[in-house]
């Protein structure tokens, strides 16, 4: 009865945008185009990386199995945290309102979006496992049976991940502590490897093709996946209308901003608003204006402690990664690329004051100081914080791994300053220039979309490029200097055009 009412409602919903044959053909054409131009080259690039000597050295190292366990634990912790903000059980706001307001059980109403989300997660986990397993098999390091067991464990891992994602959605308050406990336990199991035998992420790790027979571990992982599937309807029925509608509205706003390539606004939708520290004295008027603004920015960070802590942790990780990228025998390009994107992400929360200064500079005069002075005053805190965290982390990593200290410090400092400038430039960016909406006709179709995406993600891409250029600092500083000049000029142009 409920199922027929649900299908009738969904039929009406889908009928509002009935696709003609030519529409469907176009969607298929677009999918094939994206597959050929994006997906196939990306998969091929990944294959080349994992099957290269450096990639195989990492995959066949003694710690590979433990690393898989750690990755799985991190994936599960991340899934729980993600569910707190955007769970898998979500529909467009109006459809959600109409269906969840009816007497149809939510286990039925929200079944399809959860199945879709699960299918995507399972596919990605399985693809990752197959890629790694086949690289090992191809080079004679693993048996085919071992690869199949590993892929099957990845499928079960995907199912558990999707259900934990739903757990985060159903228990948003518990999401953060549960994730932290999971990460702490995973960290502990690295130092006490015996623990891995008793942990689900450890079971997945032992199915790694080089870790021996993992059939027993696969059984444990599969049992966990089955238990997760059984508990799913209970979790779905537990979701409240308020939780669902809030998440759906946020997701709709974020996707609307993303479609207009305003990724800064899209991510801002999911940023935690401050609720703590409202009685902290943030403004301390002083003759030394730099002190007033420095303390103002510190107070702003203290009011969003979780966000600030994540940013500092990410900055520390970036410092360690860039230092490690100078160590002989490591996949330096991969480490530097990750460092670049991580430091760009970390600078976002740390430059809130600077981003506000950029907004003020583009608006009508409000402060009794020049725009340039305001920006400089708001640069102080993030610059000091970034350099302190990055250089400390890089120093510790360099000293413990035998990396030359000077080059590690220079690299870490350079990527920090570059990310800071990029964040400021991003805040001055403004909306997508209409000129980029002009069609770019090529034999492969209209490529104006590529230009638009390039414009939207140029800043994080430049951060990655900067980190890659930093890895050649021991040989030559010229690529990094040229990039710095280009970024400087671009930011200056944006500054001139800010109003």
């Amino acid at each position: 009865m409920s199922a027929s009412r649900l299908s009738a409602a969904l039929e009406i919903w889908h009928a509002r945008r009935e696709r003609t044959g030519s529409n469907k053909a176009y969607v298929l054409y677009a999918f094939l185009l994206v597959a050929v131009i994006v997906i196939v080259p990306v998969v091929r690039a990944l294959w080349v990386i994992v099957s290269s000597p450096a990639g195989l050295a990492v995959l066949t190292s003694a710690n590979a199995s433990a690393a898989v366990s750690l990755i799985v634990a991190a994936l599960w912790a991340g899934a729980i945290l993600a569910g707190q903000k955007r769970g898998p059980a979500l529909l467009p706001p109006f459809l959600l309102h109409a269906l969840t307001g009816s007497s149809i059980r939510r286990a039925l109403t929200l079944r399809m979006p959860v199945l879709r989300a699960t299918a995507i997660v399972v596919a990605m986990c399985a693809a990752g496992a197959i890629l790694v397993g086949m690289a090992l098999f191809n080079d004679g390091h693993a048996q085919l049976a071992g690869v199949i067991v590993f892929a099957a464990a990845a499928v079960a891992t995907g199912v558990v991940t999707a259900v934990l994602w739903l757990v985060g959605q159903a228990f948003p308050r518990a999401a953060l502590p549960v994730s932290l406990i999971l990460l702490v336990l995973a960290g502990m199991s690295l130092s006490v490897p015996e623990m891995l035998t008793f942990t689900p992420w450890g079971w997945v790790g032992t199915t790694y093709p080089l870790a021996g027979s993992g059939v027993l571990s696969l059984t444990g992982t599969a049992a966990l996946a089955i238990a997760s599937i059984i508990v799913t309807p209970v979790l779905l029925n537990r979701l409240t209308g308020m939780q669902l509608s809030t998440q759906a509205a946020r997701w709709e706003r974020a996707t609307a901003f993303s479609f207009s390539f305003d990724f800064r606004a899209a991510t801002a939708v999911y940023e935690a608003e401050p609720h703590l520290g409202r009685n902290i004295r943030a403004i301390t008027p002083s003759r030394h204006r730099w002190a007033t603004f420095f303390l103002r920015d510190v107070a702003g960070q203290a009011r969003t402690p979780g966000r600030s802590l994540r940013a500092i942790t990410a900055a520390a990780a970036a410092g360690a990664l860039i230092a490690l990228s100078f160590m002989p025998g490591t996949p330096s390009a991969l480490l530097a690329g990750v460092a670049g994107i991580v430091i760009y992400g970390a600078t976002g929360p740390l430059t809130k004051g600077l981003q506000h200064a950029a907004s003020v500079a583009g608006d009508y005069p409000l402060y009794g100081i020049s725009d340039r002075h305001l920006v400089l005053l708001h640069t102080l805190f993030p610059l000091i914080a970034l350099l302190a965290v990055l250089t400390t982390s890089a120093t510790v990593t360099a000293l413990t791994n035998g990396v030359p200290l000077g080059v590690a410090l220079t690299g870490a400092g350079a990527i920090g300053i570059l990310a800071l400038v990029l964040r400021f430039g991003s805040a001055l960016k403004g909306p997508l220039p209409p000129s980029l909406l002009t069609p770019v006709n090529t034999p492969a179709g209209d490529l104006s979309g590529v230009m638009q995406i390039g414009w939207a993600i140029s800043d994080p891409l430049i951060a990655i490029l900067g980190a890659l250029n930093a890895t050649v600092l021991p040989i030559t500083p010229i690529p990094l200097m040229m990039l710095a000049v280009c970024v400087g000029v671009a930011v200056l142009v944006r500054w001139k055009k800010r109003r």
């Binding site: 204006r289 004051g353 005069p365 409000l366 009794g368």
Partner: protein, 238 residues
Amino acid sequence: MHPKDFRSNALSAPSTAKNAKDPASVLSPVVSVDAVSMTANDTLLLPPTTFQSGPGQVVALRGENGSGKTTLLRALAGRIRPTTGTIQVSCQPVNERDPEFRRRVAVMIGLPPMASDLTVFDHVALVASTWETSPGSVEALTRRVLDEFGLTELAARFPHELSSGQTQLFGLALVFVRPFNVLLLDEPEQRLDPGRVELLAQAILFRRAAGATIVAATHSSSLADCTADLTVTLGTPS
């Protein structure tokens, strides 16, 4: 035409002027708008408009939606260049790049940028601290302006915790806390209940009494009646 009513030249219908001072008494105009018009892509955005306003005067810009009120304010703020005519502020051409012009002219066209990690009090105090020199005067000025707009009870709230009307009052407090000779306001009564419009009117009259020249586009007859020395009614551009 009523001698105290400066109207858009494009308008033919008569209008009424409220409690206006004689414009002839504007011996040294602070704001001088002479035959200013704005056209974009052959579309008339602002019909030719002329008026002058001296120190301690409030000009109410009235007119239907799309009649060019905001366009005129943006031209007065130096953000756009008029197609015809001249604008002078304190006998100087409008130059938004001039720091002295920015010191003299305060503008609220839309809400000012707000920082999510600062409370209402912090915002107002931070703006005040960049204009005032002594910490004591920053504190006193902040409290006075918050009180003026009925925001004292909301001082510890973050911007996302305010209603739309409270956010409008907060935006006004941010602009009113800074010193100015000329204040340009675009529909400052937006989203405010009658009691809060009264607070706004009092704040405007207080600045007028202190010698400021205020140009406000408004759809509120009560605000215009209560504060305006001059009413400039813009016609809907054809």
